[in-house]
């Protein structure tokens, strides 16, 4: 085996892919997508406050006044949705009154009107009429205010003091803190799970994409008939390892770009700018040690799946044929997805430890565990050692199939033939 040949092949694979527009579109689309579905709406939703003028017609004669008296602030901060209520008594001709209110909404003199029916206190239903009924945030806030008003009236009618009941039934707030070597940090409970989830899927997507790319690359070399020219100068093992190394580096480049985007977005300053967090509370952040582990787990995961993809690509003549068998490799990539929720719930359980030490699951499940809670060093090292051993065996088997397969054209090989290729010595 000549390292310089592997390097030449890897360089070609890397440069060809990194220079293509497809790589950059594929790489930048995820950060742009995440940015557009999380950051921007949060930015607009949290920074912009709305003010709505509503006409309230109250047939009960109680709710509207209670509603107008509701404080429009939460935890001492002004609410993002502010309402101006114009109370109007119900007219004699209800149909004409409703039509007149609709006209005012259409003319833009008011934003919406509320109709509180006679039985609103028992049925719990209130009508809301507006040009747009998709203002989710302000409608939620309005619903909360009406609910609170109705509850206060009901409590008073039952002989209770609403303020006292409010005090006595106050929720308990669980203050979550992540314990780590750097000291305790206040962290939003769901954020830890989301953090693990995002990293898990980032790795899942890159492994699936670049494994497929290996298979496609091998098939293209076969179908363009360039393979025989190459193997006359490069040994099939060198070609396979060069190809895997080159594409692995492309995938790693993409993974690092995504990790960097994620790391930047989770910086305390950025988080504070895009989301309102209670004082002293942070979101999980990527430490350099974590990045190093994730990059290494990516390389391990890539080599596990891509060696199989390379052998599959070499064995078949078209993408359609190869895809049928590639499904088996994908199954092993998908199983961790089903195990994920149980591991998120208890990342240090025996189940989580055992599953994350099975080599074919280690890259994805160890990534998840590291993101949730740094496992003991011995578990990480054992996971790495077992996976490297497994990769060594996989490379040995797949290189043998690859060596024969790349020069075979024509019919689809049977499993007996693949077995024969594996044992074939020259």
């Amino acid at each position: 085996m000549r390292l310089e040949t592997i390097f030449v092949v890897a360089k070609r694979e890397y440069l060809q892919r990194i220079r293509s527009k497809g790589f950059w579109i594929g790489t930048l689309i995820l950060p742009i997508f995440i940015g557009s579905v999380t950051v921007l709406p949060t930015l607009f939703a949290t920074k912009q406050s709305t003010r709505e003028t509503l006409v309230v017609v109250d047939e009960t004669g109680k709710v509207a006044t209670e509603l107008a008296a509701q404080p429009q602030e939460k935890d001492g901060k002004k609410s993002k949705s502010e309402f101006v209520f114009q109370l109007e008594p119900p007219g004699a001709d209800r149909t004409a009154q409703r039509a007149a209110l609709d006209r005012r909404v259409l003319a833009g003199t008011v934003d919406a009107w509320l109709w509180i029916g006679r039985d609103a206190l028992t049925s719990g239903e209130v009508e809301y009429h507006a040009k747009s009924v998709s203002k989710v945030f302000s409608q939620d806030a309005l619903e909360d205010m009406i609910s609170a008003s109705v509850q206060r009236i009901r409590l008073r009618a039952a002989g209770y003091d609403p303020d006292l009941v409010g005090k006595l039934s106050q929720d308990v707030d669980l203050k979550t803190e992540r314990v780590s070597a750097e000291g305790s940090k206040k962290e939003v409970a769901i954020a830890g799970a989301v953090f693990g989830y995002v990293l898990f899927f980032m790795l899942y997507v890159t492994l699936a994409i670049w494994g497929q790319q290996v298979m496609q690359g091998v098939l293209e070399e076969k179908s363009s008939r360039v393979i025989e020219v190459i193997v006359s100068a490069v040994q099939p093992f060198e070609l396979m390892m060069g190809k895997l190394t080159g594409i692995c580096l492309v995938g790693l480049t993409q993974f690092v770009i995504w990790l960097t985007t994620f790391a930047v977005l989770s910086l305390p300053g950025i988080v504070a700018a895009i989301a309102t967090l209670p004082e002293g509370v942070t979101l999980p952040t990527l430490t350099p040690l974590m990045v190093l582990n994730f990059a290494f787990l990516f390389v391990l995961g890539f080599f596990i799946f891509s060696t199989f993809y390379a052998a599959i690509g070499a064995s078949f003549n078209s993408m359609q044929e190869a895809q049928q068998v590639a499904g088996v490799a994908i199954t092993f990539l998908v199983i961790p997805v089903f195990l994920m929720l149980r591991i998120i719930n208890d990342p240090s359980s025996t189940f989580a430890v055992v599953m994350s030490l099975i080599p074919i699951f280690t890259p994805l499940l160890m990534t998840l565990r590291i993101a949730l809670e740094m496992p003991p060093l011995w578990q990480i090292l054992l996971g790495y050692a077992l996976t490297i051993g497994f990769i060594w065996c996989a490379v040995w088997v797949c290189a043998r199939i690859y060596r024969v397969g790349i020069l075979m054209y024509g019919k689809k090989p049977t499993f007996q033939e693949l077995w024969k290729w594996m044992r074939y010595s020259g």
Binding site: V8, R225, E228, I230, V231, A233, L407
Partner: protein, 304 residues
Amino acid sequence: MTTNLELRDVRKSYSGLVAVDGVSLAVPEGSIFGLLGPNGSGKTSTIRMIMDITAPDSGEIRLFGQPRRREDLRRVGYLPEERGLYPKMTVMDQLVFLGEIRGLKRRELVPEIVRWLERVQLGGRGASKVEELSKGNQQKVQLIGTVLHKPDLLILDEPFSGLDPLNQELFRELLVEYREQGKSVILSTHGMELAERLCDSICLISKGRAILTGELRAIKRQLGGNSYRLVGDKDIEESLERLRALPEIEQAVVQDGVAKLLLRPEADGADLLRRIVGFVRVHEFRSVEPELEQIFLKAVRDAA
């Protein structure tokens, strides 16, 4: 005689099917060697073993006077029958890559590639993607990729298939140039006419066996005396069936109004002429050197 390549009793079988059955041959320095045989005769299998793409079951392969080592293959240029290029790569990147996998450096490759592209009238196309070139031009790029590292032995498997006459001439010039430089060329083909024009030595392979090996001139001399040229006064094709029915004749073909006859080894030319004058008015009847195609057909038939 110094040989660049020598095969000694090389065998190869796939799943019990014998592809190469004890082939021995020697390719001298400064010669063009024809590896000839019908499709599926074992030529490509033989070449793949020479190139270490597959390993022989038994026998020995010697390159440049010693048992073949992997690094010696860097002195060999190989153009396989199943050939292709990376369609999305530029011509320059492609050729640099083909040079680099043979241990050359980019800085020494680039001026050489530019020179070659000029020579094959592809100057200025270095930045074009391979898929943008015509098929003929792609074949020129492939040829450059084969000779770029200045190999001492060139192995070309069916190099002329799909080439127009202009490109065929370009390939032919190159082979002759190689021979003049004291290098060797192995030409695997089933096109006899071209092989006859170019080859110094041949090895005829049929069903995996080398059925005729040696210097082409010597082979022709050896088989000479049994080959005749016949010119009649009317369209000789009309008499072809009668000629073929004669007991002395093993093979008879007509080309451009001239019949080429190959006699059975025991047949006598004078006896044959006496029979022919019975139905053809003969203008010319003379012993000639047999053509390679005749030798090929006869040898394959004899081997069967």
